[in-house]
Assembly symmetry: C2
Homo-oligomer: 187 residues x 2
Amino acid sequence: MKSLWDEFNELGTEMIVTKAGRRMFPAFQVRVTGMDPHADYMVMMDFVASDDKRYRYSFHSSSWVVAGKADTQMPGRIHMHPDSPAKGSQWMKQIISFDKLKLTNNLLDDNGHIILNSMHSYQPRFHVVYNPPKSEDVSEMEVFKHFIFPETKFTAVTAYQNHRITQLKIASNPFAKGFRDCDPNDW
Amino acid sequence: MKSLWDEFNELGTEMIVTKAGRRMFPAFQVRVTGMDPHADYMVMMDFVASDDKRYRYSFHSSSWVVAGKADTQMPGRIHMHPDSPAKGSQWMKQIISFDKLKLTNNLLDDNGHIILNSMHSYQPRFHVVYNPPKSEDVSEMEVFKHFIFPETKFTAVTAYQNHRITQLKIASNPFAKGFRDCDPNDW
DNA sequence: TTCTTAGCACCTAGGTGCCAAGAT
DNA sequence: ATCTTGGCACCTAGGTGCTAAGAA
C-alpha cells in the first residue's frame, strides 16, 4: 500500500474518528523478514502524537494551520495484532494487515479501540516483541523493536476537511464505491 | 441454544459439509464456570465418530438406516477457539461460541476446517486445557478435561435428507430467511 | 440410482461518505 | 462559527438452501 499512502500523504492524510470506532484507510500493512521461524513473536501498533499542537483546516488557503497547543492526551493504547502470538514463520509467510484496527474519539471507549484527539496529528508505529527460547542469552539481543513509516502520518478528524482527501478516499476505498462518479477501472 | 439443539436432535440433526467449508447450525455454544480467573486456558472442539457405520436416508420410511461399515477416517482435527489462550475470567465472562468453525468433506483441506465423512454420524466434544501457574503441584490436578452434550450429535450430509430438518433450519437460521413462507415473528 | 458440485437469489453484518440537525 | 453526531443509501463480504448439471 506504500504508493497509496504516499498519494494520501502528499495531500495531508486525514483519518475519521467516531464514537463507535472507524477503520483506517488505507490500512496499515507491513511485511516482515529475518525472524526466527520457530520463535514466538507478538506484533502490535500504537500511535504517538506528531507534535504538541492542535490544528484547524483553513479552507481559505486549503491547508492545515496551527490552532493552539495540543489537548491533554491519555497515555496511548496499544493494538495487539489478533494473530499474536505466532511463530516467525507465520508472520513472514504473508503480509501483516491491521485492517481491523479502529480509531475512536471516545475517551471512555470500552472496545479496545485506539483513542485519538480530533484535529491532532499522529504517527503510527509498528512494534515487534521477540519471545526468545529459554536457552538463549537474552542480554545480548533486542527483544523489543519498533518501526516508523513517515508516510503513514495523519490528522484525526471527525469529518473530512480537505476535499481532495475525500475524493481520493472515494476513488480508492472499495466500500465507498457508491459515491464514485465513474468507475476508475474504466481508466 | 440447548432447546434448539433438542428440537433438531428429535428429528435427527444433519449438518452440511462442503468442499469450501460450511458453518454448523445451530452453532456450538457453551458457558463455563469454576475456572481460576487468573490462569490461562485453551478451549477447543473436536468431533468423534458416533459409531463405525455408514448411513443412508430411507425416504420410504423417513428414517436413517445403516448402509454398511464406516469409511476410513482420518485422525480428527482439533478446532482451537480463536480466543485461546485466555484467562479464566475472560472465558467465564460470556458464552463461548464456536460459530466460526466450519465442516468440510475435502480430505485435502488446507484451511484448518474439520474434515468429516458424509453420511456418517458424529459427536462434537468440548475440551478445556488448563495451564497451571508454575507454583502449583500439577500432579494432583486435571489439566485436560472434555465435555459431551449428546443432543449435539449429527449426521454429516452434502445435501439435506430429512425435509423436516430443512424446514427447521430455514425457520431458525437468520441467513435462510429468504426461504421462509411467512415471518416466524408473526407467531 | 445416488451422491456431489457450482452458480444463484436472498439474506445478515458491517464498512463508506453524505447530509441535516444538534452541540459547543 | 466550528465541530460533532446519527440516520441514510450504497457498497463489500460472506452465510443460506435451491436448482440443475455433473460425477461415481
